[in-house]
């Protein structure tokens, strides 16, 4: 609507002709390198990609002058000499085995590419569709064709445009109407490859009316030999009264640089709960946008980020209340140590028509080291008059009084710190409803605050 268009024009107005040409030539280099332009999928996709190319060229890669990327200068991580690549089955089955979780249906993606041979779909109900997104588009899957880019085209995120223009084949998941998937679907994402590889996997998840899905994503590095950059984009469409639980574990190595764009379209009476646990990765940017398009929808967005060494984790969130009578609740907690930097930049936008909105946002951070940094910027933009919105952010060191209290009862300093950090983290991990995965996450958290 109005607001979004206005923003687009501002960002487009900045670049001159020379810069646009430069952006185009960089993009063309990457398109050639990737070589999987969606040509096979017919005119439809070509049209979508052409448009994305033009949009991207007009904006270019974000720099620190780009308002939404103020704290994460993409340009400093992703240089021209990065080579666009596609995922492939470049690892053996035994190399990926230990990232699978027995209780779940396991879908293996290597650099975003679906590897059916390594996936374990035995327990997947036949009602559920899981396949390569490109394949779904080629086969003329109506849902895939209709929904591809339906959410992201409404945003002005240059990284989303770039992903659309360079889209690498990812996963397509569709849950039929009135169907509740009884087993969680686990997507094991493995990042591998050599220095300066640049991946742009694209995924689509569609929940038909009144369906339910628990989707677990975990991110790992295997045989990773140099700094790579992954710019992934996932669209979720949650139709009326459907329900999505989406849990994310980010546990890659420090060579990994990842920009994770997500777009959720939330319709009437539906609900979603997204929990992102960011534990390891050299550079990590989580960029979820949620469009609440129908009444009586409920959105929960939670994140825990633990950042160490020289790493950087940025959480940039946007919740757009575009319909009345909805609620959103957002909680992000950060533990930042060593020389690491954390970012929380969360925006809630309430449209004029979105009366009776309840929107809550909270960000709490603990700085562990003298050189640890957090940049936090909560934003509320409200155009409706009958709403209840609150936001708050706190940052501090670990509570010294509590530490001394615990130590005076016989707990050594390290143990006392661990207990305090674990209880701090628990508020987020507790929002994971699946018990098996929650237990795994709690263990991972414990390992990472040692």
């Amino acid at each position: 609507m109005e607001l979004v268009t206005a923003k687009t024009n501002i960002s487009r107005g900045v670049l001159g002709e020379a810069e646009i040409i430069k952006n185009k030539s960089l993009l063309n280099k990457w398109i050639d390198e990737a070589g999987t332009h969606l040509t096979e999928t017919g005119n439809f996709a070509k049209g979508v990609q052409k448009k994305a190319e033009e949009n991207f060229a007009a904006i270019g890669l974000p720099t620190k002058r780009t308002e939404d990327f103020k704290y994460t200068n993409i340009r400093s991580y992703l240089q021209d000499d990065y080579a666009a690549k596609n995922g492939s089955a470049s690892l053996t089955e035994s190399e990926i085995e230990n990232v699978l979780i027995d209780d779940f249906v396991s879908v293996v993606l290597i650099n975003g590419k679906y590897i059916p041979e390594y996936s374990r779909l035995k327990n997947l109900p036949k009602e559920v569709t899981i396949k390569s997104l490109f394949k779904a588009l080629e086969e003329g899957n109506e849902v895939a064709i209709k929904q591809f880019n339906s959410g992201l085209e409404k945003t002005t995120n240059p990284m989303a445009m770039l992903n659309t223009a360079l889209a690498g084949d990812g996963i397509f998941i569709s849950i039929p109407e009135n169907f509740s998937c009884p087993i969680p679907v686990h997507i094991a994402n493995i990042c591998t490859g050599e220095a300066k590889n640049f991946y742009n996997p694209r995924h689509l998840v569609y929940l038909h009316k009144n369906s339910e899905l628990t989707l677990i994503e975990s991110y790992h590095s295997v045989n990773h030999t140099g700094k790579t950059f992954t710019n992934s984009a996932t669209e979720f469409i949650i139709e009326d009264t459907a329900s999505l639980e989406n849990y994310i574990l980010q546990d890659e190595d420090i060579l990994s640089q990842r920009n994770d764009v997500r777009h959720f379209t939330v319709n009437t009476g539906s609900r979603m709960n997204s929990v992102a646990i960011s534990l390891n990765g050299g550079m990590l940017r989580n960029d979820p946008t949620i469009f609440i398009n129908g009444e009586n929808a409920e959105v929960h967005l939670n994140g825990l980020f633990i950042v160490k060494e020289n790493c950087h984790t940025d959480n940039h969130t946007m919740v757009e209340h575009r319909a009345p009578n909805c609620m959103s609740n957002e909680l992000y907690k950060g533990i930042i140590g060593d020389n690491a930097t954390g970012v929380f930049n969360g925006k809630i936008l309430v449209y004029r028509d979105a009366q009776k909105t309840n929107a809550y946002q909270s960000n709490k951070n603990i700085l562990m080291g003298d050189k640890s940094t957090i940049n936090t910027k909560p934003q509320l933009e409200i155009y409706a008059d009958d709403v209840r919105c609150t936001h708050g952010t706190t940052t501090g060191k670990l509570n010294e009084e509590a530490l001394f209290y615990m130590r005076s009862r016989g707990l050594n300093e390290k143990l006392a710190k661990n207990i305090l950090l674990q209880s701090f983290a628990k508020e987020v991990s507790n929002t994971i409803k699946n018990e098996a995965f929650r237990t795994l996450i709690e263990q991972k958290i414990e390992e990472n605050i040692q």
């Binding site: 009084e401 001394f404 209290y405 005076s408 009862r409 016989g410 707990l411 300093e413 207990i419 209880s423």
Partner: protein, 253 residues
């Protein structure tokens, strides 16, 4: 058991304890009284090992060991306990788990085998009874949302669970209603043995009617300026601190 000699302590450049001496033997109960700001809590914190304070001189030995060399947790493991004047709330950490961890750490330090879960539960029930604390309080996060009196009672409960040989109670009686005061005092008396000792910091003689001290000390301006028996507490209750202050300033001149 506890021997403090010529203890000098400052915080942020300000001297608070100015050469304090105190000897506590096992089986004894000592009461420390004194006007606000005289340094009572500072003394308790320094004994427990709080790092915000600088020890400028003197010594603290406990069962022959130099406490100033030990961290707060090691002091606890040696058998010390401080009931805080202002107990801290620790949201998200359950009292039971906290105590389980503390007991297991203390036992490990002393070379004892871990306590079995059922033994822990037995002790837990037993001590809950001793200090008449409701199970719903101990089931919650440590002190979170507790009333002032509940926090104090929880301190005594933790003391009962950890069975220290020396417990320092910093104004545990303030904020307690009359019944709670009696319960806390009864709890302390039940825990009293020939082998352990208590240092009770208080402003009120009333507590000392329940917990009868062997010695009463007056701390004023960073020093123990008067020591006596329980009659001293009665005298202070009647006369206030003016006469002590006067005597002391005369001494100081």
């Amino acid at each position: 058991m506890l021997e403090i000699k010529d203890l000098k302590v400052s915080v942020e450049g300000k001297q608070i304890l100015k050469g304090l001496n105190l000897t506590v033997k096992k089986g004894e109960v000592h009461a420390i009284m004194g006007p606000n700001g005289s340094g009572k809590s500072t003394l308790a914190s320094v004994i427990a090992g709080k790092e915000d304070y600088t020890v400028d001189g003197g010594s603290i030995t406990f069962n022959g060991k130099d406490m100033l060399e030990l961290s707060p947790d090691e002091r606890a493991k040696e058998g010390m306990f401080l009931a805080f004047q202002y107990p801290v709330e620790i949201p998200g950490v359950s009292t039971i788990n906290f105590l389980k961890t503390a007991i297991s750490e203390i036992r490990q330090y002393r070379g004892l085998p871990p306590m079995e879960a059922k033994d822990f539960l037995k002790v837990l029930k037993e001590k809950q009874k001793v200090v008449e604390i409701e199970a719903n309080l101990t089931g919650r996060s440590v002190n979170e949302g507790f009333s002032g009196g509940e926090k104090k009672r929880n301190e005594i409960f933790q003391m009962a669970m950890l069975e220290p040989s020396l417990a320092i109670l910093d104004e545990t009686d303030s904020g307690l209603d009359i019944d709670a005061l009696r319960i806390v005092a009864t709890g302390v008396n039940k825990l009293r043995t020939k082998e352990n000792a208590f240092v009770v910091i208080t402003h009120y003689q009333r507590l000392l009617e329940y917990i009868v001290p062997d010695f009463v000390h007056v701390l004023y301006q960073g020093r123990i300026v008067k020591s006596g028996t329980r009659e001293l507490a009665l005298e202070l209750e009647g006369k206030g601190y003016d006469w002590i202050k006067k005597e002391f300033s005369e001494l100081a001149v």
